[in-house]
Symmetry: C2
Subunit: 307 residues, 2 copies
């Protein structure tokens, strides 16, 4: 089955019935709602959905329409920075889909949101057309109020699609594409924070380490540990196993052992088969060999036929 993931964020975290109506857009043939979370302090909801790419995009568009109808940013308050009723929509390629397709879906959705809802859109991360606007904070700076009050007309801040003004109540929406991100921490059996910092610096891409790795050291003195906390933004380029080995090797060179590691949250099967490929030297191993994945194809087929 060809699968893509979308993790749209909506500016509503206090009215469950609104979040429920938004989430309902993702209950449709070939789309599967995996998770919905709302936070009253942030006044924000995050939906995780997976599906056939075109169907998933259509579901996102429907959800945007619901959010546009039910959320009024002129009355919205919350801790989290936001500029739209639908604030951001990142697409992530999963089994059988590519990063290029995720970019294409993001750009198509950005067009559709403007065309059908008159909400101007920005393209970010891998979907960005302007490489100076890859990162969300630069796009969202000042939030809905700043954009509405004129920032949207400034040089370099005009929307990628639509405009020139924000939608009066739904603001603007950022649509993007990125690879699956794996949050991976290696805990060292030491309280030597300086060692942790030097290893984090060695492993992170920005200071010449492994590609697609962000890293920082975290003081976990109370547990007798120093943590090298990493975000792996492309586990095809740098698999989890390689990041682990790099950190373990650097620690070993300083006479320190790895106490344990942690994988935070959900990971795609791809990232896991990449671990097997590298740890076991199994070049030819594929996700198609995983029984649960085969079962998934059978169920998805049945679901499609039933709907």
């Amino acid at each position: 089955m060809r699968l893509m993931e979308a993790i749209p964020n909506f500016s509503e975290g206090r009215r469950p019935e609104v979040v429920e109506r938004i989430a309902a857009s993702f209950r449709r043939p070939d789309v599967f709602l995996l998770d919905q979370e709302m936070d009253a302090t942030h006044n924000r909801a995050v939906v995780t959905a997976v599906g056939e790419p075109d169907a998933l995009r259509q579901a996102c568009l429907d959800a945007c329409a619901v959010a546009c109808e039910l959320i009024d940013l002129t009355r919205h308050q919350g801790e989290h920075p936001r500029m739209g009723a639908t604030d951001v929509i990142p697409f992530v390629p999963l089994s059988g889909t590519t990063q290029d397709e995720a970019v294409a879906q993001a750009r198509e959705l950005a067009e559709q949101i403007w065309r059908t809802l008159a909400i101007p859109t920005y393209l970010y991360e891998d979907a960005a057309r302007d490489q100076n606007r890859r990162l969300l904070p630069a796009i969202r700076k000042g939030g809905f109020e700043a954009l509405r009050d004129g920032a949207i007309h400034e040089q370099g801040r005009q929307p990628d699609v639509g405009g020139p003004d924000v939608h009066p109540t739904a603001g603007a929406t950022a649509v993007g594409a990125r690879k699956p991100l794996v949050a991976f921490n290696v805990n060292l059996a030491t309280t030597d924070l300086e060692l942790g910092k030097s290893i984090a610096k060695a492993v992170r891409e920005s200071s010449g380490g492994l590609p697609k790795v962000r890293a920082m050291a975290v003081d976990m003195r109370a547990r007798g540990r120093v943590q090298v906390s990493m975000n792996l933004t492309d586990t095809e380029t740098t698999p989890i196993f390689q990041a682990y080995e790099f950190v373990a090797e650097a620690a070993r060179a300083a006479g320190v052992w790895v106490a344990e590691s942690e994988v935070i949250g959900l990971v795609g099967l791809n990232a896991l088969t990449d671990v097997a490929r590298h740890a076991l030297q199994v070049e030819a191993f594929s996700t198609a060999q995983v029984l649960e994945n085969k079962l998934l194809s059978v169920l998805a087929e049945r679901d499609h036929e039933a709907s």
Copy 2:
């Protein structure tokens, strides 16, 4: 979702319409037909199905009834040893189920097959009541004809359930339980078969190596390799990564490198998360953190509601 696997073997490999009718028993709520294969030379079909344990057992019973109706062993010829129209049914625990449950399902099915179809049954592998009868070849020795012609009355060969004679056309059926088996080969960059043999001997359980590992050396001279070919019969006890490390270490001690490894056929997600757990030292990692597995639960739920 609580999942069990069954891989029933039927004595029909030439009449596709019969195999199709047997396989149709596995298309029902909460049961998923993953694979069906037939072989004319062996005159045998193998079905791979996964499902909620009780529903899967009921599907197996229905398939036995179809096989009993449509297959006549007195007219059956084929290369593969067999004693029943439904010859063997192994149960394998998957996500959320235990080996004890697989044993219980096997024993219950063995009772049901006798009660509803008057086919005597044998219990084998982990479901065996008689520890001398764990292995299939001992139970099936001489096949349908030998049992029919009197072997079934010999000391130690009486059925576990039912009897005293075989079913006149459907023979007898062996029902068992085992853990998921992983076929894993490590190819060494050498043509030294003796080295391969000594490593295979060192790693296999029967000569004091790793628990739940069977191993043999295979001459792959034409490819410039020696293969240590392993069956891992319990990857919870000895994970794939541990078997790999054992062989790699032994080869290294002899100055030889691992060229590559191979995982043959389907593996369960458990075996894969076990690799991650060991290779990355991630104690707490679980199959629930795999996105595709979460999606599987959502689809299974939807499928259940629809049916």
